[in-house]
Amino acid sequence: MKIGKEFNIFLFSIKLLLKRKSSYYIFLILMVLVFFIASASFITASIKKELILTHEELPDIVIQRVIGGRQQYIPMDYIDKIVSIPGIKSILPRVWGYYYFDYSGVNFSIVGIDPLEPFYKKSLEENIKHIKTDDLIKRDDWMILGNGVRRLFSEIGYVDYAYFKKPNGEYIKLRRFDYLTQESAIFTNDIILISQNTARKLLGMDDDYVSDIVVNVYNKNEVVTIAAKIRDILKDARTVTKKDVLNSYQNVFNYKLGFFITLFGVLIFTMMVIVIDKLGGLSETEKLEIGVLKATGWTTSDVLRLKFYESSFLVLQAFIIGVLLAVIYVYILKAPIMMNIFSGYASLKTEYQLIFAVDFKTLFLIFIAIVPFYIAAIIIPTYRIATLDTYEVFK
């Protein structure tokens, strides 16, 4: 039977593979290379997917006030000036800034929210289960912690309360009310949500000033026009639209791509070494194998098929196992060491949740760079030897 014969050739090729030491080494090298490149591409694809998907939730336009190249707080009456622009759906003043926690040497992002504001009330109730926004309205000394801040605070003993230093040196005591989910840690790791009044105190901001103003519009096609109108009215304002944010994200991906290209260079170099080594001629044992097969009556095409099965099994399995290990490493073990490359030196300790994303383009590129080259590097010298006279081979 035809299929039976092919299968037998395949089984025989496995037998030969197992017998040869060099096949183990080649398998290991290819697998490790694929593993590294695939893990890097999984991490970048994950971060990219998270950024792109969550970017839809950001406000349409952020208005900042820039004087002398420096960002300043915006007076509240700027809102009255732009409120008459047609097409604007909502305008929300925001109070946020940074707090340097010198005990641990980390920066927190402090975001002041107003539980009376319908937008904040609604998203608080959506995000945090069993939250009672009424409790938040009654008092001012609450805080909702991001996952990284929560862990840092519990390490240093700030279990229920934490103290923050105001710009004038006084301390205020805040009570931990709740915390944000660990799932969003990649975005909210360093976030502390506090009431807007407390945030103003911590950031040294007057009551009639805000950090920036966000504007949402009805028609997404009008964003650029409305941003232009806002800049026309507020002469010292700078607008950052959702599109600008996306462009900025793109810069990050370019860098991550550079990291990937470095790894890819290693892969190409290794493949070149393997191919050149193979094209220089097969090893003595391999030559002998082919000679014996030919002597025992195998045709040239049978030998070629045998070598094809052998090499494609080796290289395909190396590819699949490499990618499998990368999937386990990145999504199950959470990329223990490699993730440090992507995070900064002073970052809060975190357990990032990477969502599953496959960059098929990259995987395909690795596949193309490895599989056909390796198979060709085996088949071509085999053909050269198999077409020789058997006597020549043994000589």
Partner: protein, 98 residues
């Protein structure tokens, strides 16, 4: 029989790993709850960029700052490895409307 015990074990192992690979891909692919939680939190906070690098504002909320924000902290352009060499001044499209 052409196939020995060693080869049979070997083939079975690789078949198992391949099936495991396919199964992992399928199970991980159907996991969409996390991204919804992320989206909700980003909506609540309203700030862009990842918290991977939190050193200063020009790297933490990179999309909301401009190249001059670097000088808010110090008159020199401070290096924040490896994040700061990501950003190319010429490539920065923000502020071009101004």
């Amino acid at each position: 029989m052409l196939i020995g015990r060693k080869e049979r074990l070997f083939l079975a192992l690789f078949l198992f790993l391949d099936i495991l690979f396919a199964a992992l891909l399928i199970t991980l692919h159907s996991d969409t709850i996390k991204i919804d939680r992320m989206k909700n939190d980003v909506k609540l906070v309203g700030l862009p960029d990842t918290a991977l690098v939190t050193e200063a504002r020009f790297v933490r909320h990179r999309s909301l700052t401009d190249v001059y924000s670097i000088f808010d902290f110090s008159p020199e352009a401070r290096e924040v490895f490896p994040f700061s060499f990501v950003y190319d001044i010429n490539n920065n499209t923000k502020g071009q409307h101004r």
